[in-house]
Amino acid sequence: MVAAKLYFGSSLMAFIHLDQVSLTYPMLGAGSRARVTKTALVGAGNVLKDKKQRSSGIVALKDISLKFEVGDRVGLVGRNGSGKSTLLRVMAGIYEPLEGKVHVEGTIASLFSLGLGTKTEANGYRNIELAGLMAGYSRDQIDDKLPAIAEFTGLGQYLNMPVRTYSNGMAMRLKFACGTAFSPEVLLMDEWLGAGDPSFQKKASDKMAELVEQAGILVLASHNYQLIKNSCNKVMWLDRGEMKLFGPVDEVLEQVDD
C-alpha cells in the first residue's frame, strides 16, 4: 500500500485489489409483485427478503477478494447472471459495493456495452474528443492522438457522419479505438469483440496483447473459451456471485461445467 501511494499516477504498477466485496442490486420496478423463484434466476439467485418477506434485492457478488497484478490476463467465466459483468463494473468503479473495498491503480479502459457513453447525434470525431475528455485529457493531448485513433478505426470518411448511422461493427471499431488510444494500463472487456469483422478482430487482439505487454492488466469476460485460451493466462470462475475457482487457464476451464 505504501508503494502504491508513492507511485500514484505513474505507470509503474497497475493493480486491481478487491477486498471482501459484496454487492446487492436493489429490485426496483419489480417490487412486491415480482415472482422470484429459484428457477427464474439461473445465476446469482440469492434474493434478499425484507421484513415483510418481499424481495428487496439480488445478491450479485458475494465476498470477493482478489489481487490482479501487472501481467495478469484474466478470463472471467461463468453462466449468465453469475456476476461477470457486475464484477467488471466494480473494477471500473461504476458500481461501488456497499461492503468491502476496491482499489485500482493505473489508467482504466472499460469496453462494455456499445451504447454506453456515445453521443449518437454527434459524428465520429466529436465522439473521440468526448471520450478523450472523459478520460481526463486536455484538448491538445486529444488533438495529438486524433489522427492515430482515426487511423486505427479504419472508418475514414464515416468519421464525419453521425454515429447513429454506424453499423454495430463500425460503432465497435470506434469505441475500441477510443478506449485503447490513451495506453490504458487496465483493460476491462465484457464479451465484446463479436461484432468486428475478422480483420478488425485481428487488429484488436494485437492491440490488446501490446497493451498487456506494456505493463498492463487485462480482464475479459467471455463464454468463448478459445478466445480466453488465446488471450489469457489465468481464469476466474464465478458461480452465483461467488468465486469458485481461480488459477491457470487449462486447470480451471477443465473443471467448469456449463
Partner: protein, 275 residues
C-alpha cells in the same frame, strides 16, 4: 477517489459524506468535459434546422410579444412599463422552469454515461445547467430588445440583478442534484414537478401585477418563485432592492444546498442501480 484524471485508478471511499463532497466539488473541476457535453446537447438539438439556435430567440420574442399585446390592457398600466415587466419576469421564469424541469432528468438522461464510466455524478447536473445558461443568453437578447424599444434606462441599483442571477445559478445546482436523485428513484417525481410548474406559472407575478390582486396577494406571497422574480426584476425595473425577497432567495439557496448534499450522501452510489 474521483480525481481530475477520472479514468485513472481509484479507491472506493467508504465515508459517504466525504464521497458526496468529492463528487460535487470534483465534478466542478471537470468543466471542460461538461461544457463539451452541453455543447453537443445543443448541437444535436438544432442540427439540420435551417435557422438553428435562432429559434430560441424567435420563439421567446413571439411569446413575450403576444403576452404584452394581450395583458397590457388588463394591467391598467402603459406599454413602456408593462413590456419590460413581462420580458424580465418571463425571462427569469423561463430559466427557473427549465432548470426545475431539466433538473429532474439530469441523471436519467445521462444513464448511458453513468453506466459507462466512473465519473462524478455532478458533472451531468453541471452539463444540464451549462446548456440552460447558454440557451438563456438567447432569451436575454429579447429582454435587451424590449428595454431598448420601450426606452427604459436601467438605474444603478439594477446591477443588484447580477449577484441575484448568480444565486439563480447556485440554486440551479442544488435543484439539479436533489431533484435528479429523487426522480431517478421515484419516477413520479418528474411528472409531479411538471404539473406543479404548470400551475405555478399562473400563480407567479409574470403577466399580472401583485398590486392588482388585492387580498389574494397575502397567499400568493408564499410562493418562493415569486420572490426569485422580485429579487431580479425589482432592481432593474423600480430601482429598489426588495430585501425580504432577497433574504428568502438566500435562505432557499442554503437550505437547498444542504438537502442536495444529503441526497448525494444517501443516494450517490445507489443512483446507478436506479437508472
Amino acid at each position: 477517489m474521483l480525481s481530475g484524471m477520472s479514468q485513472t485508478g481509484f479507491q472506493t471511499e467508504n465515508n459517504p459524506c466525504k464521497a458526496a463532497a468529492q463528487d460535487i466539488f470534483g465534478g466542478l473541476r471537470q468543466w471542460r468535459l461538461w461544457s463539451a457535453l452541453a455543447r453537443e446537447d445543443i448541437r444535436s438539438r438544432y442540427m439540420r434546422s435551417f435557422i438553428g439556435i435562432s429559434w430560441v430567440t424567435i420563439s421567446f420574442a413571439i411569446f413575450v410579444a403576444v403576452k404584452i399585446l394581450i395583458f397590457t390592457p388588463m394591467s391598467e398600466t402603459n406599454v413602456s412599463f408593462f413590456a419590460p415587466y413581462v420580458a424580465i419576469g418571463f425571462f427569469a421564469w423561463t430559466f427557473m422552469n427549465s432548470v426545475i424541469v431539466d433538473g429532474c432528468v439530469a441523471f436519467i438522461g445521462a444513464a448511458s454515461w453513468i453506466k459507462g464510466a466512473r465519473m462524478p455524478l455532478s458533472i451531468y447536473a453541471y452539463q444540464s445547467i451549462m446548456r440552460n445558461l447558454f440557451l438563456t443568453i438567447f432569451n436575454f437578447i429579447v429582454v435587451i430588445g424590449v428595454m431598448v424599444l420601450s426606452k427604459r434606462s436601467v438605474p444603478m441599483v439594477g446591477l443588484v440583478a447580477i449577484p441575484v442571477f448568480l444565486l439563480y445559478i447556485v440554486n440551479a445546482a442544488w435543484i439539479h442534484i436533489l431533484f435528479s436523485t429523487i426522480a431517478a428513484r421515484y419516477r413520479d417525481f418528474m411528472h409531479m414537478t411538471q404539473t406543479i410548474m404548470r400551475v405555478m406559472f399562473f400563480l407567479t407575478p409574470i403577466f399580472w401585477l401583485p398590486e392588482n390582486m388585492g387580498g389574494m396577494m397575502k397567499i400568493l406571497n408564499y410562493n418562493p418563485l415569486a420572490h426569485f422574480i422580485y429579487a431580479l426584476r425589482d432592481p432593474i425595473l423600480y430601482g429598489t432592492v426588495p430585501m425580504t425577497s432577497i433574504w428568502i432567495v438566500i435562505a432557499t439557496t442554503i437550505i437547498g444546498c444542504l438537502l442536495a448534499y444529503l441526497a448525494m450522501v444517501y443516494g450517490r452510489r445507489k443512483i446507478v442501480f436506479w437508472l
